[in-house]
């Protein structure tokens, strides 16, 4: 009897470990074909994004360009003192984010990197997440990679973040009891009220949303979605959001960065 139980236990363990191995080697589930949110927008919004002058997001990029040169903190160093000419040094950088910061072994997005630079190199006050200054710098950095394909690799270092992000993507949340996947994976292209549901890619962020009348980060968008399904809101920069950002980046692999995007 005891023996039989033990054998059963061992077999069950083997099944569990096999299942977890299978779960870790899974790639993100991608919609086919990959479509940018711009493909679901009207002509007016598309024209606004594609005209580099009329695109209101370019105002944040211009502000970021100024801030890049501005010395800050006790060290009186600017971004440019270390990183030089952003169009050269920041080209392609945004395609690799979010990534694991070697120093802290934590997942970090562009906002997080800017904050870390301010804290450690410039010895300046951290910028508030979603503040106009941080949005401007993030937009400026991400804009240098516009048109370049997203290229995030999932390896042993960020695997657990990826798995957590994927779990969150498929987890039903809030009073509406909806997961990200139920709208953006299973029902993209269909109507939700007057809106067409997009595939939910994060490649154009930070974006200028006409609804917000201002620039907003990807984490602000996550919060809007959470509030849409009546779920509890997480703060911007939360580790759960970073994991989700990584999952989305892997899901959007190969799509061109559009920063600054314009959406309705």
């Amino acid at each position: 009897m005891m023996n039989a139980l033990l054998r059963f236990g061992a077999a069950a363990l083997a099944v569990v470990s096999l299942a977890s191995i299978a779960a870790t080697v899974d790639a993100p589930i991608k919609p086919q074909p990959l479509k940018s949110g711009l493909d679901f927008s009207g002509n007016e919004v598309r024209d606004l994004q594609q005209d580099d002058f009329a695109n209101p997001g370019m105002l944040w990029v211009a502000r970021g360009e100024k801030l890049w040169q501005e010395p800050a903190g006790e060290e009186r160093k600017s971004c440019a003192s270390c990183h030089g000419d952003a169009p050269v040094t920041m080209k392609g950088v945004a395609t690799r984010y979010p990534l694991i910061d070697p120093g802290t072994a934590r997942l970090m997005n562009i906002e997080g990197r800017i904050q870390q630079c301010r804290e450690r190199r410039q010895h300046a006050e951290p910028l508030k997440y979603e503040s106009p200054e941080l949005l401007a710098l993030t937009s400026y950095v991400a804009h240098q990679s516009r048109g370049m394909p997203l290229n995030v690799s999932i390896d042993w270092q960020n695997r657990h973040n990826f798995d957590a992000g994927r779990a969150l993507y498929f987890k039903r949340l809030g009073q509406a009891n909806l997961s990200c996947a139920q709208c953006h994976q299973d029902n993209w292209g269909k109507k939700l009220g007057p809106e067409t549901i997009s595939q939910g890619h994060g490649v154009a962020y930070p974006i200028y949303r006409l609804d917000w009348q201002t620039m907003g980060s990807l984490h602000r968008r996550f919060r809007s979605c959470l509030s849409g399904v009546r779920a509890e809101l997480l703060p911007q920069g939360a580790p759960e959001f970073l994991d989700l950002e990584l999952y989305l980046a892997a899901r959007s692999q190969g799509m061109a960065i559009e920063t600054p995007g314009v959406r309705r």
Binding site: F53, A54, P56, M58, L59, W60, A62, R63, K66, L210, Q213, T214
Partner: protein, 105 residues
Amino acid sequence: MTARIQAPSTAKRGEVIEVRIAIQHTMETGFRVDEAGRPIPKNVVNKLVCRYNGTEVFRAEMGSGVSANPYLDFFTVADASGELVFDWIDDEGTTGSERVTLTVS
């Protein structure tokens, strides 16, 4: 206030040129309330003037119906080399100014 101006740097005499300006401004309507329910006072860029070598060529008076980060577009005739100077002011009294040079041949 960040602003961007787009105008040709060179033009032929008598040529009609397009001038575009975008200003970063929240254009607070005065109809909104903050998280505590207090009304947010109206604050919009209410006047923008463009002078071409000292002569006023364009003026805009804006109100609460204009969306955030206003973008304006107008045409003028290039008749002499010089400067296009933009000045604007909002309800709080914050002023902004930008200029571009134009060479007419």
